[in-house]
């Protein structure tokens, strides 16, 4: 069990700055997810923790012991870290058992003890009967479990996951998320997990670190990061979002924003001065669509542009003048294209951000 401390981490590949300046404290036993689009530097951070990459500047310590700095790097095999790779990286010339026992044998542990530990690790992932199989005889999900068993069998201080579920099909992925989370809580090993899948992050994480272009955008719990994203980027990356820009016409307790000629919107969050350009964000599931007129603030009349039936929800796109707003209705109701509807967004469900010109 260990506490990881990252201070001012920078990682450059030639001239490209993969990690710009990242500082992080990861608590003992915590399950931390590094989340972000491809190229945001999440894998680089993970590989620096593992010791597979040297840091360009900054420091990484595990349990207050320095493991990485520009002058010094503890070799990966001496860090007591277990890692699960995206490709699983199982060795095809070894059986399941041999894959798991490899690290134990290197340590020179007694054969009887190795057997016991391998058995325990394989039982943990439910593959005890597969010990003597060749790797090529296993399915993707089973290979994933072997990789996991191999990572935990040495009883590491830290577990690292590099997009471990991205090669699995959707059903299995959903199941494995849950299992990983349970296993981590059972073992209590400090875990850093890299993914670009926001749903996966929400399921497994104690805390999510949202990364963007080598910098931390936001660190928070899954619920908070969803409900209170600190930027348009965060809102857009995690979950679905309607984003419209406009001008503040009234500030104070209630902020009013003019989105178009027809639409003025009322919000209870956010402090902005009159005349400022802002982005207004709403979650589609908070947008209420009604076939009857409604009496309340933030109600507009519009026409259904198109709808998609997704089973548990319906995706409804409503045109109000030249604005389009997306709503997710659950349970889904049948609406015709071109049908007149009223939509309503509760003022407290809206979030305001200072408008940024798109990069």
């Amino acid at each position: 069990m260990a506490h990881i401390s990252i201070k001012g981490l920078v990682k450059k590949y030639d001239q490209h700055r993969a990690v710009a300046d990242v500082s992080l404290e990861i608590a003992d036993g915590e399950f931390l997810v590094l989340l972000g689009p491809s190229g945001c530097g999440k894998t680089s951070i993970l590989r620096c923790i593992a010791g597979l990459e040297n840091v360009t500047s900054g420091e990484i310590s595990i349990d207050n012991k320095l493991v990485s700095s520009p002058q010094f790097s503890l070799p990966p095999e001496k860090r007591s870290i277990g890692m699960v790779f995206q490709s699983y990286a199982l060795w095809p010339h070894k059986t399941v058992e041999e894959n798991v026992s490899f690290g134990l044998e290197l340590k020179g542990i007694k054969a009887s003890q190795i057997k016991q530990k391998v058995d325990r690790a394989l039982s943990l992932v439910g593959l005890k009967e597969y010990a003597t199989r060749a790797i090529s005889q296993l399915s993707g999900g089973q290979q994933q479990r072997v990789a996991l068993a191999r990572a935990v069998v040495l009883e590491p201080r830290v577990l690292l996951f590099d997009e471990p579920l991205s090669n699995l099909d959707a059903k299995l992925r959903e199941h494995m998320r849950f299992e990983l989370r349970q296993l981590q809580k059972l073992l209590g090993i400090t875990t850093v997990y890299v993914t670009h899948d926001q749903q996966e992050a929400m399921v497994v994480a104690d805390r999510i670190v949202l990364l963007r272009e080598g910098l931390i955008e936001q660190i928070s719990t899954p619920v908070d990061i969803y409900e209170n994203p600190c930027s348009v980027f965060g809102a857009d990356f995690i979950g679905l979002a309607n984003i419209h820009s406009g001008q503040v016409t009234q500030s104070g307790e209630i902020t009013r924003v003019q989105l178009s000629d027809q639409i003025q919107i009322e919000c209870t969050h956010g402090q902005f001065g009159v005349g400022q350009s802002v982005d207004v964000m709403s979650r589609p599931e908070q947008v209420i669509v009604s076939t009857e007129p409604l009496q309340s603030p933030n109600v507009w009349q519009g026409q259904v542009s198109h709808t998609f039936f997704l089973g548990s929800v319906a995706d409804v796109y409503v045109n109000i003048g030249n604005l389009q707003i997306r709503s997710q209705m659950s349970p889904p109701k049948h609406l015709d294209n071109g049908q007149t509807v009223w939509i309503h967004i509760p003022p407290q469900a809206l979030r305001l951000y200072a408008h940024q010109t798109k990069i």
């Binding site: 593992a50 010791g51 597979l52 070799p75 990966p76 095999e77 870290i81 277990g82 890692m83 790779f85 995206q86 490709s87 990286a89 199982l90 060795w91 095809p92 010339h93 490899f102 690290g103 290197l106 340590k107 990789a147 191999r150 990572a151 040495l154 690292l160």
Partner: protein, 567 residues
């Protein structure tokens, strides 16, 4: 830890120097030698442009160059046509017994082109060739007279023997590229309404063009730089190619060393240009490989009325390139002398008895064997070390080493032989088999580097990283993970280099002395002296050695060598 680091630094430095000395110095020496005044035994101390100008501007030498390029063009055209047709027939049609034919067609790869020549001289000589003898015998029996039909001692004879050999190379490259082609591309052509023939002509073949061009260029370079076959046959009717002239200039008294050096530089330039073009085509062709190894084969094309033509082509090739030569060479090796009439008195085992009793024969056998093993081992180890470092921990020095080490691939064996000869003739190394070893290592190290590189690139780096995470250090990763995973590739390289060493003739002929004989040089020697039967016996011995190697590789390592070589 620190000592370790320093030691590896020193080793690395030694490696760079060694590769420079082996691969680059002989070349520089050759080019430099072109700019001296000649005397009867070699070079004087005086600088001169005479030889250089003579070679690069005189009608005489340009004609030799033209002859070499002309011969190479014809050989390439025939080999490409035959090789590609065979590959298409055996990889894409429903011809029966494709599997066996596939194995038979690549057998010439395991023979040396020069043993092919020995065999075809036995088969195709005017008066004593088995083909003419047999046909005339049959004709006589039927009661009419027949003039000899085949004559190997002609320009067509040169083309014939060389084409037979290079067809097999073309076949190997094209069929492996056909196998790595995504079949869904052909299936989607069928789905768009194309017939199998239209699919072949409009999709399959056009997609193979870069790969065919790249192998065709290789064949062109190999045949343009070959001096053994064109020289031995061509010299009987005054046909001289540039490489043959280089050989004569450098070996026949009075020696024209500067001329040989200048002409060798000319050959080097052509080979380098060819290799650069070839690299370019190869890069184009890898862009065409979309998905590989799906293992899903669509229905083979129905040959229909083309079946007979295909049969004739496939069986005709196997007969001329495999069955007849092996049979002819075996028979010739058992005969006392060439004779227009064959009877029982003419057969003898003397040649084989001599090979295994005469001291210089045994020396040659022993030299061939240990040179093959040592050069194979050195090329595998150095090639792997260089490629591994360059792939996993690239640096300027690793890139430099990988580049200079691969450079000799574009250098004709003849040019290397000359360079090494001139560099080492003053040293005690000359006259020993060690000079041959240097030549073989220089010539075949590129295969070690390039093939192990492609093997390493197929290995996901995460395999090694996961071993680090399991507590293995660098050396343990290499020993317990990387090397075992690359076993097949490494063995294939080893066997391939051993093969090439056993076959190597063009550099060996220049570098051998009485003490450092090898089998291939012996065949050359006896062919030149007109003792074809003894040459055939040595050729058979050499061939048996190579076949044994294939069988052993298969049995011991379970590596299908011909598959590993095509990739």
């Amino acid at each position: 830890m620190r000592v370790d680091f320093k030691l590896s630094r020193i080793l690395w430095f030694v490696l760079i120097v060694a590769v420079l000395i082996i691969a680059v110095v002989p070349l520089i020496y050759t080019i430099d030698a072109a700019f001296y005044k000649e005397n009867k035994t070699g070079l004087s101390q005086i600088r001169s442009l005479v030889a250089f100008l003579n070679v690069f501007t005189s009608q005489e030498y340009l004609e030799f160059l033209w002859n070499a390029l002309y011969l190479a063009s014809i050989v390439t055209a025939i080999s490409v046509t035959l090789g590609v047709s065979l590959a298409l027939i055996l990889a894409r049609t429903d011809l029966p017994f494709r599997g066996i034919f596939d194995l038979l067609v690549i057998i010439p790869m395991f023979l040396s082109p020069f043993t092919g020549l020995i065999a075809w001289i036995a088969l195709g000589s005017v008066k004593t060739g088995f083909i003419n003898v047999t046909l005339i015998g049959i004709a006589e029996w039927l009661g009419f007279e027949l003039e000899p039909i085949v004559n190997i001692w002609t320009f067509s004879g040169i083309v014939w023997v060389m084409s037979l050999f290079f067809t097999s190379l073309m076949y190997l490259f094209t069929s492996s590229s056909l196998r790595s082609m995504d079949t869904s591309l052909e299936e989607s052509a069928r789905a768009s309404g194309a017939t199998p023939m239209q699919t072949l002509l409009h999709i399959t073949l056009p997609m193979q063009v870069p790969s065919i061009l790249s192998s065709a260029l290789l064949v062109f370079i190999f045949s343009a730089e070959m001096y053994t076959i064109p020289g031995l046959i061509g010299s009987t009717f005054g046909f001289t190619t540039l490489p043959w002239r280089i050989y004569q200039d450098s070996t026949a008294f009075p020696v024209h060393q500067a001329h040989a050096a200048a002409a060798a530089s000319m050959l080097l330039i052509i080979a380098m240009i060819g290799m650069l073009l070839q690299r370019w085509f190869t890069r184009l062709s890898t862009r065409y490989i979309t998905v590989s190894g799906k293992g899903f084969r669509s229905n083979p094309m129905n040959l229909g009325r083309w079946t007979i033509v295909s049969w004739v082509l496939v069986i005709g090739y196997i007969l001329s390139a495999v069955v007849l030569p092996i049979a002819g060479m075996l028979m010739s090796s058992l005969m006392k002398y060439s004779a227009p009439v064959i009877n029982m008195q003419i057969f003898t085992l003397t040649h084989y008895v001599q090979i295994f009793t005469l001291q210089n024969m045994l020396n040659a056998l022993w030299n061939t064997a240990w040179l093959a093993i040592v050069s194979g081992a050195v090329c595998v180890i150095l090639g792997f070390a260089i490629s591994y470092t360059d792939a996993r921990k690239p640096s300027k020095s690793s890139r430099f080493l990988a580049f200079t080490g691969s450079l000799p691939v574009a250098v004709p064996g003849l040019v290397y032989g000359l360079g090494l000869l001139w560099v080492y003739i003053q040293t005690p190394l000359y006259g020993t088999a060690w000079v041959l070893l240097l030549a073989y290592i220089a010539k075949f190290l590129p295969y070690g580097i390039m093939n192990s590189r492609s093997g390493i690139l197929q290995l996901h780096p995460e395999m090694e990283e996961s071993a680090r995470m399991s507590g293995a250090n660098n050396a343990q990763v290499l020993r317990l993970i990387t090397m075992p995973l690359m076993k097949t590739t490494l063995i294939a390289i080893l066997v391939f280099v051993m093969f090439q060493s056993i076959k190597e003739l063009s550099a060996s002929v220049l570098l051998y002395t009485q003490k450092s004989q090898v089998l291939s040089v012996l065949t050359w020697h006896y062919m030149d002296a007109g003792n074809y039967q003894f040459a055939a016996a040595v050729g058979v011995t050499q061939t048996v050695m190579m076949l044994l190697l294939v069988v052993i590789t298969r049995a011991v390592f379970r590596v299908k060598f011909e598959k590993a070589m095509g990739s």
